[in-house]
Symmetry: D2
């Protein structure tokens, strides 16, 4: 399949390579051209422009940073929608707002182009290893077009409905749960540490009993060791994602007090200059606010 | 080993049976005598009084409901501590406050009796199946005495220190994390449900990707189905346990804003009459406060 | 002075009349024309269009509902900025976001027109009685132009700086404090009511001792009597204003946990259908969540 | 009237002097005897023991620090209740828990002694100036006995019921509102300061418009100047009082999310070592968490 790929950052890099390795003809565009050029070793062609990447693609996969990047590329001056071939499908795989998700869906429908929303769970190593979990929503025909690509990038695809927005909200809900788990870990470690419990021992009890799985293992480990670099997912993006949840919730009058707490913690973390640490650095804020810094 | 067993409620029932089945000579006392009599089928002797259960025991295991029950039995008029034989060990396996944990430890030491704090993770079915996770702390000699009993009741024992209070705080921290996970699930399901996402589908995505394991499976299932009966752990006890966390945290000046949110939610749930539902019924409060009741 | 007046809702009605009564030549435009026509009795001329109201005005006063209304009128197709005479000044007296306040200031400067931000404290009766408190910011010359108008509409003007945004943020901060005082009253009345304290008596103690003044008198009275109609300021607008505070705070990494709580309460209130009650109806949410409804 | 006075701390000092100056025969007991001796200049007799102060008193006024001090003096070994003459009345004027208030009321009734709960609003200078506001509850006869004493100490007495606990809960509710107002000020000043607003100017706008009165003037001034010494009311006591509110609320299933936030802030403040600053030092916590320290 001819695939145009927009945005080869930390996630997109592995995804585009895996598409190419699976035999697809991938043309990748990236604002910072060097990032795209690095993919040549895996057979990916570097596109000079969005148009160059997309105009004869059967499928366009985008992994753009945020609503603003999508605004520019899809709704900017370059007529992205009409650049797409009439039968092409666009799969937006980034974590974006419900509002932008809805706007994209409507614009593609109005332009007669296929559209699938397909955000993923997984961090860069999972993207590189084709182990992503993909949450997809869209019309059946559009989803079918994406299927071979999803298989090349992920370990499993969950289809959650025909309305593309469904996939956005599932992803937003999941990320909220991750951020909440991080803050919860931060508070629990601050509590137990204040009583002299060895963090590694507490972590072992948690992960060997009630909270198995890599999420608690990874984030719990960061909090236990107070080490938040290198950042797999930057703290400033955590605030963005909790904001997506709060904003989506407000539209439907859903109070989310835990999300509010997490948002306030992220702001505190930013005010302390932690924007480039991993988003698990809420654990440090919890420890500091308990007066535990230096007692570690 | 001769074991006195105090408190055969939902948890103690399975625990005492498993001790007996493992070959120990168990004498059980329970305020409501009928509950103890039911254990006769597994070879447990019914004790008429606390003294009867404990005076010639090598190990006393207590699973009493709360601080108040311990206050009465251990510090009440019956001279519990001197009833214990000088070389005996008392293993307190209930979830109690740090303050009571400390008081018990000090009183046993002062009286020259052995003491181990050993709360458990697991619900009644796990107790019946000898699949509990036991978190234990105490002096080595006292822990050794308990070891055969722990092996008969649980699947694994985690030793977290010599100061018995360490086990209390680890258990309290773990229960706080469970309550927080429940409220988080409640908010996430309210959010996704408000966008028309099928709760079972959302549950599948969560538990098959980032949140594996029985905790999210069980509580997530309750929230997804809005079914909170029968209660494995009553909501009123959830408030008690979050209170234990907040109280322990306050003594060491540890702010726990998530715990505060969860506490407020439990109060709201109690005001709505949900005290006898499972403590996962925070999910219903979340749905109600989002105006989702009746839309299910 | 020739004054163009845009937006004669509940607040603008009294303000425009007072300008006219003070001898100014007022031309008022309102989307719903009838509202403007009602002002004829006080000598206000009805303008057919924004242009008609503004093109020969020395001062334009706008009291538009929200950012969206401003977007349409100021940045919409009608070239508002160039409609203003070169020496004219625009005083924006509505409660708007910091972002919109900044955009307005910059756009006027770029177009070479004067701009003052001048939101007010006071409800419609205060507007009618020329008893508003005006918080103004802008360049000296522009402020001087506004002075006679401010004197006709308010009892006092506070000048808080040259950057117009300063007035927006002071107003947003004040409104946050009002919303917080309301939620605080709601919680305090729920607490005392749950102990059988007569709400009127509690109100008397508060307002005669530590919390004098009309804010606590008015909102406390609504909460004490559980009467939230007619709405002086609708609850849906309360959510909007707390949102302005949270949004402004986020830009500068200022955590506001009280604002977060109030936001969640407003969402709960909206989910219960209270959008048209006075924003003091948080008091009802507090009472309901404490199980006090029906015990009143 | 012969009056026994227990506890002449910062508040009791002025109160006891004013009773003496009004012509009553006052005998004062204080743990630290020097504090009582200082009152001799105003005609107060120093009592050597509680018994010495109370045994022939017609009225006993106590202003003890907290529940623990009351526990010791009233329920300790010295038979306080039978020390009181049969017709005597005890007026407890401290801020205590509802639980202790209830226990005191019941114990006095059981012992056949009169009891009035009468906490006050006002800080030490108001106590010295006989300007306290007194919130009283109790049986009519007991209240009548107190009346001349209340007149000598306060500017006004509010009677809120026959059940003494009513006065405790009104006081607790009022103190919660003060603590909430402080945190609200802290957040509002952090917000406006982050936009460069002069704190004194913001304070002026607030206190001259929507928030008149000494509470906002005093606490707002502390926050605006970031000066929290000398402490009129120590921060550690603020945590205690919010705890009284949360505890009283929990008994009646009243959620108080604002109180929860304030409690968390006080814990953070204590962890930073602010226990001896004025309880308005939450303002500093707010500024610090917004990264504003050093920008002042």
């Amino acid at each position: 399949m001819r695939i145009g790929f927009l945005g080869v950052g930390a996630m997109g890099d592995g995804m585009a390579r895996n598409l190419s390795k699976a035999g697809h003809k991938v043309a990748a565009f990236n604002r910072t051209r060097e990032r795209a050029e690095a993919l040549a070793s895996d057979g990916v062609r570097v596109a000079d422009t969005v148009r160059d990447a997309c105009e004869d693609a059967e499928l366009v996969v985008s992994v753009l940073a945020d609503d603003r990047a999508i605004e520019e590329i899809v709704f900017g001056g370059d007529a992205f929608l009409t650049t797409l071939a009439p039968g092409a499908v666009h799969a937006c795989m980034a974590t974006i707002s419900v509002a932008m998700g809805r706007r994209l869906a409507e614009a593609h429908t109005a332009a007669g182009r296929g559209y699938v929303s397909a955000p993923v769970f997984g961090r860069p190593p999972a993207a590189a290893a084709a182990k992503l979990f993909i949450v997809a929503a869209g019309e059946d025909a559009a989803l079918s077009r994406c299927q071979p690509a999803f298989e090349a990038m992920g370990q499993r695809t969950f289809t959650v409905g025909r309305d593309p927005v469904a996939a956005n909200i599932v992803k937003i809900g999941g990320n909220f749960m991750l951020a909440s788990a991080i803050e919860t870990l931060g508070e629990a470690f601050a509590l137990t540490r204040s009583y002299g419990i060895d963090p590694e021992q507490f972590l072992e009890v948690l992960t060997q009993t009630i909270f198995p799985g890599p999420v608690y293992q990874n984030y719990g480990g960061m909090v236990a060791r107070d080490v938040y670099e290198p950042a797999g997912f930057k703290l400033a993006l955590g605030l963005k994602d909790v904001g997506l949840a709060l904003s989506a919730a407000q539209s439907e009058t859903v109070p989310m007090p835990i999300a509010s707490v997490v948002r306030d913690r992220y702001l505190t973390a930013l005010a302390r200059g932690y924007q480039d640490l991993d988003w698990a650095a809420l654990g440090r804020v919890c420890a500091e606010d308990a007066g535990l810094v230096g007692k570690r």
